[in-house]
Amino acid sequence: MLNIVDLEKRWFIYKLKSYIPHLSILISLIVIISIFLAFSRASQDISQLTITPTVAPIIVKKETLPVKEPVQATPKAVVKIEPVEVLKQEPQLLHDNNRVKLSPSLGFMRKMQGSVQPYYKNDLEYKGQVQEQAPAPITEVVEQEVIVPLSTLEAEPEVKKISIKRQNTQNDIYEIIARFKKNNNPALSLFVAKKYYELEDYQQAYNYALITNKINKEIESSWIIFTKSLVKLGKRDKAITTLEQYIKQSHSSGARILLDEIYAGKFK
C-alpha cells in the first residue's frame, strides 16, 4: 500500500533540491551581472575623469594663441608702442615712399592645415578672421624691428628702414596645391589661381581657375580669374564668349563689368 502523504513530502523535498542548481546559477548570474555593471560604471567614471584633463590643455592653448602675450611682454619696454604706430602707418607709406612693399602673408594658410577644411564660404569667413587678427603678425614683425632701432634709432634716426621680408610665396602656393590635391577644395584651387594671377603666371592661373570651375561652376571670382587669364594669354575672343555664356547663366554683375572693360579695351 502506497503512503501518498509521505511520498508527496519526499517529492516536495526532491523538487526543492532539484531547484538548488538552477537557483545557484541564477544567483551567480545576478552576481556576475551586478559586478560587471559596477565595473562598467567605474570604468565610465574613469573615462570621464581622463577626458577632463585632456580638455584643459586645449583651453590653455587657446589662451596662449591670442596676442595677449606679446602685449603682456611690452611692459619691458614702452618703446614697443611706437613701432606699432609706425606700422599702422605703413599702408600710407606705400603711397608716400615706394621703398616698402607690403603683400599679404600666407603664413595663416599653415594654420589652416591643422584646422577643419574650409569650404568656399568658410574661406570667406576665414578671410574675415584673418583681417581681424591681422595685427598679430604685424606685432611679431615689429618686435624684430624694434631690436634694431633700439640700438640705432637714437644714433641714426634718418636711416630708419622698415624691411619686411616676404618669404616663400611660391612655397605657400605649393603647400596649398598639395592640400588641394588631398581634399579637392575649390576654395584652395581658386586661391592658387588668384595667387598665380598675381604672380603673372597666367597659364597656371588659367589652369587652376579651370579646375575650380570644374569642381564648382558657380564661383564668380573663379570665372573672372579664368577669363582674365585668357585675356592675358591673348585669347580675348575666347574670354569674351566664356564671359557671355557665364553671364547668361548667372547674371553676374562682376562678370558683366569685366566684359564691358574687355570690350572697351580697358582690360588687356
Binding site: 500500500m1 502506497l2 501518498i4 511520498l7 508527496e8 519526499r10 517529492w11 526532491y14
Partner: protein, 269 residues
C-alpha cells in the same frame, strides 16, 4: 469493476511471459536475426545485454515460437549443480533417466549414443550464474554439434571477460540487446497498454511524459515496467482517496512520475 488505473497497473507487472512480448522494429529485427542464427550450423549463440533489456523475454518468445517446429528446451533458472545439470539435460533431451551422480564423461557417452537427426536447442537464461568449469563443459558439449545452445549473459565487466575467454575465439553468433530509445519506449508502453485494452491510459502518454520516463529509466524495460506499475498504483490510490482532481489525468502527471521514481528508488530523494 476495476478502474482503468488498476487494469493499467497490472499490465506492467514484471512477469516474463511470451504472450506479453511487444513487437518493436529494432527488437523484431534482432529477433529475426536470432531465429535465422538458430537455423545455421552454429554451435552456440550468445545473447547479451544489460539487465532489463529483454533477454529473458527473447528466450521465452523464441521457445514459444520454435517449440512447435523443433526440440527446444528452456532453462530459465540456472542448474548450478553439475551432475544435476547433466541429468536434467539427459532426461529432457534424450529421455534418459539416470539415478545417482552423472559426470561429464558419462553424459558425453549418452550424447554420442544418440542418433537424432534433429539437433535439440537448449536455451540457458542467466548463464553468467554458471561456473566457469561448467561453462567450459557446455562449450565442449556444443563442439560435438549434438546440442545447440543459446545462452543469455548480463553485460557487465565480469561477463565481458567470460565472453571474451569462452566465446570470442569460437565462430559463434553474438547478439546484443540494448535499452529502448525514447520513441521505442513510447511504442512499447502504448502497445502494452492497448494490448490489455487500456486505450485511455495509452493516450495519457505524450512525448513529453515518455521523455521524462526515458530520462529516469534510461529506456530500460524492467525499470520502465517497475515505474509504470507504481505510477498507475499511485493513480489508483489517488482515485480511492478521491484526490484525482489534484493530479493530471488527461496526460501523465510529471509529479506522479517523479513520485513513482522516488518510490521505486530510481530517483534518490
Amino acid at each position: 469493476m476495476n478502474s482503468i488505473f488498476v487494469n493499467s497497473k497490472d499490465v506492467f507487472l514484471d512477469i516474463v511471459n511470451a504472450k506479453d512480448y511487444i513487437q518493436l522494429d529494432r527488437v523484431s529485427t534482432i529477433y529475426q536475426a536470432l531465429k535465422n542464427s538458430i537455423k545455421k550450423p552454429l554451435k552456440m549463440i550468445l545473447l547479451y545485454g544489460k539487465p532489463g533489456t529483454g533477454k529473458s523475454m527473447f528466450l521465452n518468445k523464441l521457445h514459444k515460437d520454435l517449440s512447435s517446429s523443433q526440440k527446444v528446451y528452456l532453462y530459465q533458472t540456472p542448474i548450478l549443480d553439475e551432475s544435476e545439470f547433466y541429468k536434467t539435460l539427459a532426461q529432457d533431451l534424450f529421455e534418459t533417466k539416470y539415478s545417482g551422480e552423472l559426470n561429464f564423461t558419462q553424459f558425453m557417452k549418452i550424447v554420442k549414443s544418440q542418433d537424432n537427426e534433429e539437433i535439440p536447442v537448449v536455451l540457458l537464461d542467466e548463464a553468467q550464474l554458471y561456473s566457469e568449469v561448467l561453462m567450459e563443459k557446455i562449450r565442449l558439449l556444443s563442439d560435438t554439434r549434438t546440442v545447440k545452445f543459446v545462452i543469455t549473459l548480463h553485460k557487465t565487466e565480469k561477463e565481458d571477460i567470460i565472453a571474451k575467454e569462452h566465446f570470442q575465439t569460437r565462430i559463434w553468433e553474438t547478439i546484443e540487446l540494448e535499452n529502448a530509445s525514447s520513441g521505442e519506449l513510447k511504442i512499447y508502453i502504448q502497445k502494452k497498454l492497448m494490448k490489455a485494452n487500456c486505450f485511455d491510459s495509452a493516450n495519457m502518454f505524450t512525448n513529453k511524459s515518455v521523455n521524462k520516463i526515458h530520462k529516469i529509466t534510461n529506456g530500460n524495460y524492467r525499470d520502465t515496467n517497475k515505474l509504470l506499475y507504481t505510477l498507475f498504483d499511485l493513480y489508483a490510490a489517488y482515485e480511492r482517496n478521491q484526490q484525482l482532481s489534484s493530479v493530471k489525468t488527461d496526460q501523465v502527471s510529471n509529479k506522479l512520475i517523479e513520485m513513482s521514481a522516488i518510490h521505486t528508488g530510481l530517483i534518490h530523494a
